[in-house]
Amino acid sequence: MARTMAEKVWEEHVVRRADGEPDLLYIDLHLVHEVTSPQAFEGLRLAGRGVRRPDLTVATEDHNVPTENILGPIADKVSRTQIETLRKNAAEFGVRLFPMGDIDQGIVHVVGPQLGLTQPGMTIVCGDSHTSTHGAFGALAFGIGTSQVEHVLATQTLPMAPFKTMAVTVNGALRPGVTAKDIILAVIAQIGTGGGQGYVIEYRGEAIRALSMEARMTICNMSIEAGARAGMIAPDATTFDYIKGRPHAPEGAEWDAAVAHWESLRTDDDAVFDAEVVLDADRLSPFVTWGTNPGQGAPLDAAVPDPAEFADATERAAAEKALAYMDLRPGTPLSEVRVDTVFLGSCTNGRIEDLRAAAEVIRGRKVADGVRMLVVPGSMRVKEQANAEGLGEVFTAAGAEWREAGCSMCLGMNPDQLKPGERSASTSNRNFEGRQGKGGRTHLVSPLVAAATAVRGTLSSPADL
């Protein structure tokens, strides 16, 4: 029977199948960070259990990391305790950890692919919803809760409820200045934050094939914002070229065998998806959010919508509430919305290509008066690469702050936060109320829009400069 890629990867990982029970799936890679793991390790200790496969587990420090003075002790005592707890747990249970100060430290979803640990056809989990990022390689990767983290630590498996399949096909070619971020924001605006619930999305079509690995990661990263369990893209030459030569990539005959297998994972031509969504890349333009969920977005050249125009009562009420929180009036052109802060970073847009794109826009220009721009690389390797290319200097010369690697202002668990009432243009993934700091207001944007916005002080694209 014809099968989709997601179904093939799932089938390959079934450890046990029995009537009336969820499939028990084997997990190839378990990524761990400090926030969602302490209670899981504590659970193991209380039950007298160990980590079954520490060699398939890796940990890094990211959410609490202060992006200034990364080598000093963390000032926030509670954050410090959480980091220290991860270090103790990693040592006690034999899990490899990349702590602050290590060249391989960074956001967990940047570190995995960078090391070559993320490969096609794998099952990958992490106690973090943006685990969907790894699906860009054709891996089945999903975010899990702390109970499941404990379950994977103890058994290297997870019982998983069946999923449905959705194809999101993006035809045509992107116009200059339009990026992967704009594709995914447009997809979410179209299907809504609940549109993907219960589905694994496969992104396909000409426009997706043309994307780099890093751009594909940006797309899969935000699958969760459409409510999906995971997002995937079929592995191809772009994928193989990215993986080859990385520290954990297969070599020699193993490489050839791996590639042959990876190529077999593609969705069969006659496979049927449970749902299909089609977009035309040629019609997309830079996209920004105006509300407090990622589905509340519009093209940058549009205006703040009027809630009265929403047919659905629930959506109308949500829009009214969002505009009140965001302090926006219907009809205001989005390009006139003034920001206080620009955040460039996160597991969505904190990789080297994102920094390059933003640096190209900002080179020789200045961050507007009254605007603070934070540039936070996704990992220390990304920072190293950016410095080697002179990008760090471009950002600092423009008046931006060039920081150390971590999750930073995406969720403000460290000191990088918005103050109440402050407004940001942010390359991160969530514009929820208070996400970037209590009372803060977030507009999600691409790295290009972030850079242009920093220069002009209002939501802008490079074409406006």
Partner: protein
């Protein structure tokens, strides 16, 4: 995990859609390493800033059945959202749609999340807004929600229902299958990466 069979408690109407887990518990509360005591973080921003927020109304105090709008629990995977609801005293959440990860977490941890049609949620909102003392019964045995004038069946797969009713720990169940896991590991591809 505590067993769940039938629970009857005061309804708390939360008229909002897209209540993401950042609203259920803001990130600042996630720095803790303990497993209990998250009730102070539940809906912290709304409780602090909005006097009209439902949990700030004394007539709903002691409520244990939250009735919410669509897409409750979207966003971050933080299981702290489930812990905060439970620590505050909630035993069940009723909504037309849930974020997938939140739903999975809730059913692992014994917080019963029940899918009901929007129209039923609207009726339950109307009931508990008209009379804040309104109680809702969530009956897992019969897979049914009952309130004055409302009897509505709900779906939950047999396996999850059994696990909740028995209060069973998933890990203990899986550890009975160690032979299957050992056998699977024998046939894994040799090129798959290790983290060492």
């Amino acid at each position: 995990m505590e067993k769940f069979t039938v629970h009857t408690g005061r309804a708390v109407p939360l008229r909002a859609s897209n209540v993401d887990t950042d609203q259920i518990i803001p990130a600042v509360y996630l720095k803790r390493v303990a497993r209990t005591g998250f009730e102070d973080g539940l809906f912290a921003a709304w409780r602090a800033n909005d006097p009209d927020f439902v949990l700030n109304k004394p007539e709903y105090s002691g409520g244990s059945v939250l009735v919410a709008g669509p897409d409750f629990g979207t966003g971050s995977s933080r299981e702290h959202a489930v812990w905060a609801l439970q620590d505050y005293g909630f035993k069940a959440v009723l909504a037309p749609r849930f974020g997938d990860i939140f739903r999975g977490n809730s059913l692992k941890g014994g917080l019963l999340t029940v899918l009901l049609p929007q129209e039923v949620i609207e009726r339950l909102w109307a009931l508990s807004e008209a009379d804040p003392a309104t109680e809702i019964t969530v009956d897992l045995v019969e897979r049914e929600v009952r309130a004055p004038g409302v009897t509505e069946p709900f779906e939950l797969d047999d396996y999850t229902r059994w696990r909740l009713m028995e209060g069973l720990d998933d890990i203990a169940l899986t550890l009975r299958r160690t032979d299957d896991i050992d056998a699977y590991e024998q046939r894994r591809k040799s090129w798959l990466p290790v983290t060492r």
